[in-house]
Symmetry: D4
Subunit: 255 residues, 8 copies
């Protein structure tokens, strides 16, 4: 694997996307930094070309701050932290010597997500549409939309366009038909991706949400419905995994 990684660095140098100094640094750098509680993959950004991501749930705030600092030191430009409570966000914002809500550190309450560093200019092949069934799906659909934006994509949001009121969806047919990839977010019966995939001619990533009660089983009904979609072109991520959908959409939209 070292060879392929090396070839990637050289290709970036050839394209002028990496300076000679940075290349030297990168080649000499250890592939992993061991912080004791976590191993940071120093080659990942080069290998996959995206911002770094930290999954905030189940990590202590000092651990997240430690990982963040180490990444910034090693040259990472943009860091996405998902599933981050407001309290942890405040601690990290202060720890970075910055007031929360400043451009360099944005925290989004509804999806509980932080972006450190600049959000890159949209650079994908086209537009990513993020459609969601109802108001309660917003935490998940916003996680998807902001992830895609943080990874350098143009995003169009269609909110509260659930299938029980088709007109709301049909009035956005143009956005749907011109998308490069669509993320369809829904709880309860999870029918939105099937209806959208029947209208669109691009890949649809379905995100079930835990919205609902009783036999919704915390999103399982929506998940199953999406896996059984009668429309072609649909794939599915885990319940409430807005990040995963945004990340894959970004990969699909990459030039």
């Amino acid at each position: 694997m070292e060879q392929s990684y090396l070839r990637k660095i050289l290709a970036l140098v050839q394209n002028g996307e990496l300076s000679l100094d940075d290349a030297v640094l990168k080649i000499r750098e250890e592939p992993y930094t061991d912080l004791g509680y976590a191993m940071i993959d120093n080659h990942r950004q080069l290998r996959q070309g995206f911002a770094e991501v930290i999954y905030g749930e189940g990590k202590r705030k000092d651990q997240i701050l430690g990982i963040t600092k180490k990444m910034l030191e090693s040259g990472v430009k943009t860091i996405l932290i998902t599933r981050l409570s407001e309290e942890k966000a405040s601690y990290i914002g202060k720890g970075l010597g910055l007031a929360v809500e400043k451009p360099f550190f944005q925290y989004h309450e509804i999806p509980r997500l932080a972006i450190i560093g600049p959000v890159p200019e949209p650079a994908g092949r086209g537009t990513i549409v993020v459609a969601s069934g109802g108001t309660s799906d917003l935490p998940v659909s916003e996680e998807a939309a902001l992830t895609a934006q943080a990874l350098g994509n143009k995003v169009v949001r269609l909110t509260d366009v659930g299938v029980s009121g088709l007109h709301r969806l049909l009035s956005h047919l143009d956005e749907i038909m011109s998308a490069t990839v669509i993320i369809a977010v829904a709880g309860m019966e999870g029918a939105l991706p099937s209806v959208i995939a029947g209208l669109a001619d691009c890949p649809v990533i379905a995100v079930p949400t835990s919205v609902g009660y009783g036999a919704g089983f915390g999103g399982v009904s929506a998940l199953l419905a999406m896996l059984n979609s009668c429309a072609s072109g649909v794939s599915v991520v885990n319940i409430d995994n807005g990040f995963g959908a945004g990340y894959q959409a970004a990969m699909i939209n990459r030039k």
Copy 2:
């Protein structure tokens, strides 16, 4: 309960729907006939006003014939037999001294259902629409449609109108908006009832089918989706239970 049953008989006499002789017979008749392997409810047709129904699965053909004959003897006009194999149907047709396919004994292969006696004239409040998602749902949707017809209802069928091709459904908006009750039959992601209930202003009975594979779990995915419908006015019956939907629709459509 005897009182309420008696009152029912008298009301029918008052309305001229029951002759004096039949009323006398009914009042004297035992409420149940015990055939050893089954107890036949002699009061049921009067109490509920519908054709008699025999669930054919798990009963031997001689048992079904025995029950059928006893019912005809005690004055039942129309008998519906559901989940009846072709082989059993042939036996029963012969046992009744009649060729299969004669008006008096109709057997429908796809829904595996027999109707003995005349199909009553439509007498309900309006029309029952039976919509189904795909070709493979036909055995269930036909069971529903024929049940409703055998119980005296006008039925309109919308076949292969699944949600992944909305135009097929939307081209039948008039039928949907003028129905008294709609039966929506679908397998896989089970989204059809939600979409229809958003378009209609009458009750929708959802019937999940076991059509699908893998995470369809024999109709469970569709069932869960239907129970979690985000549209108001939807209720659900068991997987593949076309009969149950047709029966309840007939009750709803009754004047």
Copy 3:
């Protein structure tokens, strides 16, 4: 769909149920108002002829107040808010410039449900019976009963008539036999709808509740029992979905 909507408006004008001015307003009105966090369906009340409903769970109190105000402005007479905490109810009552518990804004603690505006006079074909198995089922059975009343129906309540003490149920045989539609609410083994459907000759809507423990699985046992009812004429809604049952019952009972 616009055509069918238009035809509906004209029919209402023809029947004198809609004034010329209101008709003009309705025809010109946008089908949806986008509040950012929700899209309000301005045509729905006309299309479906019922009070508007807001599902309170998962919406912030200011959002609910915003939606309520917008609906009242656009001419909605009666609004039902379900799954509304007492704290939110108090906020909304004040926000509407009204004391809680005044006729115009009623809040019902046990089913956590608010009704804004006048409860219409009963106008259905007959009576809706709401039967429940035990004391703990009251939050759900009351949600069903109040929903049906708010949508203009006469409701009879049979409380604590579970199957383990048949006499309690059998002493209400008259109400059961004269109902237009019955809502049967039960947790635990969920047997009530089967027993009632065997006694009645009208549709029965079964509502499983999450009452119970252990292998009750939060209402799943009751749900499965109801889906497998051996009695004809039963359909089922989601666990604890008293609203859904009340809404469908109202549709069935509509003239």
Copy 4:
């Protein structure tokens, strides 16, 4: 354990229920005979006082014959073989040098059960009632009834008394109220034990059957309903386990 076993033998001698010779034999006998494919418990009949039972499923016919012969040799009087196919039964009947259907070897087709040796005279405290919901439950209810009879009990059968037609059940109230123990057998929604336990004042053993389809999940719905019975005095055995219910009922009915 040897001590308690010994004490049992001596008590039987004291009561005159065991001859001296048999006692000597029993005391000297090895507790188990190893047939290679099975270990036969030679002390069990004395310890538990019942006929021996062989579970026929998953054993080859020569194995069953071998076990049977060894048991008869060691003095067992009555042997019950459950889940025995007709073909195996015929082989065993011949292997024992006897025509099938002779008093010494009875084979019951519906419950697929054989009884070898005399069926003992009823000797329990009272009557065991076996009630079943429908015709399709007969294989299970007959397994229960015949097991109880083979273990020396008086059995009363109530067939096809499902809860959707209460009159059939209520007409047998006397049998229900005078039973020592009741076995209630039902598939689908499994409500029969709850209704019976509300009427009776003796223990009720509930047996779910795999009768049903779709969300019946092969008897799981009935099983769950029975475990969640709102009536006191109900316990449950495995799906289709008529034998287990009959065996426990016999233990309860023992003087």
Copy 5:
């Protein structure tokens, strides 16, 4: 049913177990008292011959007090209240004008159970053994044991005799072999009832508990193990349903 109830009263009069005055009272009494939130079955104690039971969970403390008072007024001697929090118990104790812990009102913290009135003298056929697997099963096993005692039975407790240390169980073989009925309480792998039923010759009621974690699924693993017991004579109640087991054991032990 009235007839059978009447016959019961007369039989009690004949046996001298009911005074003439009480009989008159009972015959005239309404079968149910409707408290609005609950219907109290006034005939039940006579019909089933046991203390009255109130399931405390999901009822408000004033409701429980109201039901209790009404029962005491109508002549009930002993009342069992299960699943009762300490706070509610204190309220009810005061409401009855009595200090908690006085003989007339006992509250047991571990099983969260109250007994109002005298605990009857043991009057059953023999002894009920309550065996439990571990210390954490005590809340359930004590609910079973106290229920059986409150219903007039002699109870022997075997605590912490789980199958991973067989000696603890085998040292109590005498109690096991001389019981009339055994209640076996266990969580985790739920093997205790199978082992006990192999040693005993009386019915075993198995009670799965929610003790455990991970793939214990809140008692489901233990429940399934018990339903699949390879030993004869085992039946099962719901997870943590110590009351149900104690109640049925009392019925079995009744003379």
Copy 6:
């Protein structure tokens, strides 16, 4: 929707991808042809730009032949039929007046898939890699690979590269790192997509297969593992849904 469809036709005319005559035909054509048992979507190929697909399971062979003929008549070039038994394939091949295995009609036994008409030249952005865990996964991985090929893509197959022998996978690192999209097919523990996604920098579509036994639950274990992948960039389709993965991969790889 008509407008967007019309615009699509005009765009194709503008780009020279559609002749004037064909455009006229398309504009005049009915959107759906109703064959009674199926409604054929005449606009779909234009709308979505792909070959037509028929899901063969649950359709009769004469129905499939009828649909195929109708499609060929209306100008479809390439038709994919999935889940087609050999017997049906032979019937259809003959019905089209062609010997099976001729270039125009290819049937692939292992994935039970037929391609009618020419397989288009690869025209996508890059290469689709189809990796599978073991020999038994071939029916599914071949369905995916052939679907992608039939829709005009270059496909590279990596067979039997399961995670329990990492060297087999690591020796193909170049193919993995240069793919545009990867389809990872695996049964049992379903770990392949996670490992591949960690190595690749393109989207990975995970396909669980029903290969395995016991707690594999017909592919559910693999499905769950894939939904819970710790690697970013993975989405999932239904169990054994090779077609779905191939179709979405083709959409992603489209220029």
Copy 7:
């Protein structure tokens, strides 16, 4: 990894366990042979030191024969084929130019397992005990026992020692207490491993079997019971995975 593999070869040469010629051959050999339908790992036997294993299910007989021949060519001494039908075994026996049942090719019907080549002399640290609950568990327990033997271990079998008859188990306490590792095989309630682990002081590998019915769910009940064992020292393999248990036991018993 190449280094560690190389070091292994050199160590074997150093220990005299590998000749120089074989070492040269091994070093030069390709790590994998690609047969098209399978990749054979040529280094595995050296790396893991065991006989080669082929999982027969889902492979065609010619594929299995092909793999077998290739392995024998490359110097493998002993090959184990599991889940092999009798018909395939016969084909392979002939294909190897040998009569079935000759020492070189043994086929075992009950566990459907073949051993090609010599069974090595026992060379482990001690004895592997394979205990099974009942006769029906033999296919699985024999798969475990023969696997362990084929991998060079001494095996002691304890058959039909289920927990409902403890004496059968307790009479083998010496074997249990002197084992190096115990494999405990059981279906139904799966209690055997817990009881054995409480008696033994060595690791216990639990194998659930699919023996049982109803709520046994094809071995799931036994699996869950084993995962929740209250005894320390138990780990679990998949349902019916006798091979897996035998293989791990051999690893544990290796010197």
Copy 8:
């Protein structure tokens, strides 16, 4: 069983591992001490040769202290208490007359585990490797590692070596290939044990963790994946059961 226990004592005397006085004490000692709420097994340490273990969850702090004191009194050297909250730990530390964190009483916060008494010197056959997938798995992997250490084993930890970044794992190939037994701890898709077992030639004990969300179902996905591992030599313990894995690993590593 007494015999085998006695033989064990004598063997320890013979080997000089037990003094004569201790042997006399042990032989005279009662096998169990009954504390009322728990029965302490006084023979266990001798029988199984390990430190004593107390499962802290579900026991009150005074109970744990009581058990601990009784064990220390009866000569136990090292006691492990698992699932112990910090608050209980503090109470017990004080109750033992010792400051928390002193050598004699260590409390480990992350795995919530206490060790009382000396940690024995490593005395096993080799090294136990504990590998974990991510930072959030630390509570479980530390429970496993500390258990193994407390039972006298050398442990090597590999932290944060999940399969989505193979390099982190592959850089530790030497530790993996030289281990005697490996514990592989992972949540989410649970793939780590399969990958490790493919690299190692020793037994692998897989521990699923409840890390994850949505379709992770609290560790069930990881559990299923591990049970279905395509690699040989893997067995599985309950979700989050680090103790069980550490205990079995210690048994395997014992000389």
